[in-house]
């Protein structure tokens, strides 16, 4: 532990160029995947929250279950599609950061959809009478709900980001852990573990934790500032 801690400090303060590259790619892939997952997941969550359509319950159960998608299964499915012998092979996307973003988006979009559905449905129940009296259209209702729940939805986005930045199963299959191209924090940790470099692996784990902490702190400060302005 102590060795790993001092290694982590040494890595960070030496400004290791390889480490910086890996950290930046991790952030780029997982932040992009989180934004994309929100773009797809939030409208879907809202639709299930306020929509009344046949099969709604089935969709709800399906989306909730997909929160438990194993990353390695997502990785495999994306691999089979992006492989040169797969239906999307002509795009040449396998073993690129784009493939990793696609896999993580698929992995966390259900989490965003399922959690936002719960948040929005609760809020909708609370505001239902008001919305009816204002005769809002469906789109207006969704917009009002998304705006009002924005602070809670930020946490939903963070849950997605947390899952994305921590997973290794999907990105190692579709990214290939290629040095200077698709190596991210989690695949680097897996590699160092397999080399028996346990202290270095743990040091990288600590750095990953600090990065996650930094992202959460940044979002929290944005949220506090915005809340202060909103309710001042």
């Amino acid at each position: 532990m102590g060795e790993a801690f001092s290694l982590a400090l040494a890595l960070v303060f030496s400004g290791d160029a390889d480490l910086l590259e890996i950290v930046l790619l991790s952030l780029r892939v997982s932040v992009t995947a989180s934004v994309l997952a929100c773009l797809f997941g939030l409208p879907l969550g809202a639709l299930i929250a306020i929509g009344r359509f046949p099969g709604r319950n089935a969709v709800l159960i399906l989306v909730n279950s997909l929160m438990g998608l194993p990353p390695v299964v997502v990785g495999l499915l994306v691999y089979l599609h992006l492989s040169r012998s797969g239906p999307l092979g002509f795009l040449g996307l396998l073993y690129t950061p784009t493939a990793m973003i696609i896999a993580q988006t698929i992995l966390i979009a259900p989490i965003v959809a399922a959690l936002s559905r719960q948040v929005l449905e609760d809020l909708h129940t609370e505001y239902a009478d008001q919305f009816r009296s204002l005769c809002l259209t469906g789109t207006q209702t969704v917009q009002a709900l998304l705006w009002d729940a924005r602070f809670s939805l930020l946490t939903v986005g963070l849950a997605g980001f947390g899952r994305a930045v921590a997973e290794v199963g999907a990105v190692i299959i579709v990214g290939g852990n290629i040095d200077h191209l698709t190596r991210v924090m989690t695949t680097a940790i897996a590699l160092e573990t397999s080399k028996g470099e346990l202290a270095l692996a743990l040091a990288l784990g600590m750095i990953l934790l600090v990065i996650a902490l930094g992202v959460n702190a940044a979002v929290q400060s944005v949220r506090l500032t915005a809340m202060r302005q909103a309710y001042a």
Partner: protein
């Protein structure tokens, strides 16, 4: 309308992904060559001379071959001769060339529960391990090392999988992960020597069985065939494969050492 906006943003975000550089190749490789640091040593030398970017995906030999059969790679560098020859015979590879060799060893705890330390007869050692029912951790993942291990068990007339889950434990993982697991439970493990020398979590483990000619470990290199896979970068793949087996590439392989020990011994046929 909203859907169109979402699609536009999604495309913009994803399109930021790096496209492949024009002259780059992808090597589907066994893990031992990557984990031992061989590529970190070889590739800068090669890339200095040619401007071809070499990207390496390191997986078990079985998976590497399957990936290459899916056309997801330009060069295959693995260590399971029979499977490699099948790969070429099926038209996936242009030609297979011997590249280099080292050997397999069986590592075990200093306590040596099966009493095999110092043996150089692998069949005899495996028989003693199975008689003592001493824990043995196998890759169990259809890798080159796993195939070699199964071949040795079978030549010793033993079917260890009958004791699977008892003393015979198949981890289904890579070499490093299997070493970590095996060492954690005091099991014997068969590994290629390169991975063992560069492995950094040895604890009280030592090489127990070595030196049997049957534990020879041959690596081969095969460019993926453009006839079967039109998407491959055939020219660059051939340049890389030719360089590896050239006098210069072979000398570079021989020059790579970890803690003063040579890990791979070049043996490409002279042209």
């Amino acid at each position: 309308m909203i859907a169109r906006h979402i699609a536009a943003v999604a495309v913009a975000l994803v399109a930021g992904g790096t496209a492949w550089a024009q002259d780059s190749i992808l090597v589907q490789s066994t893990t031992s060559t990557a984990n031992s640091g061989l590529y970190d040593y070889l590739l800068p030398i090669f890339q200095n001379e040619t401007d071809i970017q070499v990207n390496v995906v390191a997986v078990g030999t079985g998976q590497a071959i399957r990936n290459a059969e899916n056309c997801d790679g330009d060069v295959l560098l693995v260590h399971a001769k029979a499977s490699e020859e099948k790969f070429v015979a099926a038209g996936f590879g242009t030609a297979r060339t011997d590249l280099m060799y080292n050997d397999f060893v069986v590592v075990g705890p200093a306590a040596d529960p099966a009493g095999v330390a110092g043996m150089n007869d692998i069949q005899g050692a495996l028989a003693k391990i199975s008689e003592a029912a001493a824990p043995f951790a196998s890759r169990g993942d259809d890798s080159g090392t796993h195939k070699a291990e199964m071949r040795l068990w079978s030549s010793a007339g033993i079917d260890p999988t009958a004791a699977s889950g008892e003393w015979y434990r198949e981890t289904g993982s890579g070499m490093g992960a299997t070493l970590n697991t095996g060492i954690g439970m005091g099991a014997y493990v068969m590994t290629d020597r390169a991975t063992w020398i560069s492995f950094n979590n040895k604890q009280d483990y030592v090489v127990a069985v070595e030196g049997d000619p049957d534990m020879f470990n041959q690596y081969g290199v095969i460019p993926v065939s453009p006839a079967k896979c039109p998407s491959v970068n055939a020219d660059a793949a051939k340049i890389f494969a030719d360089w590896l087996v050239s006098g210069e590439g072979q000398a570079a392989i021989a020059a790579y050492k970890v803690s003063g020990q040579q890990l791979f011994f070049p043996n490409a046929p002279e042209n």
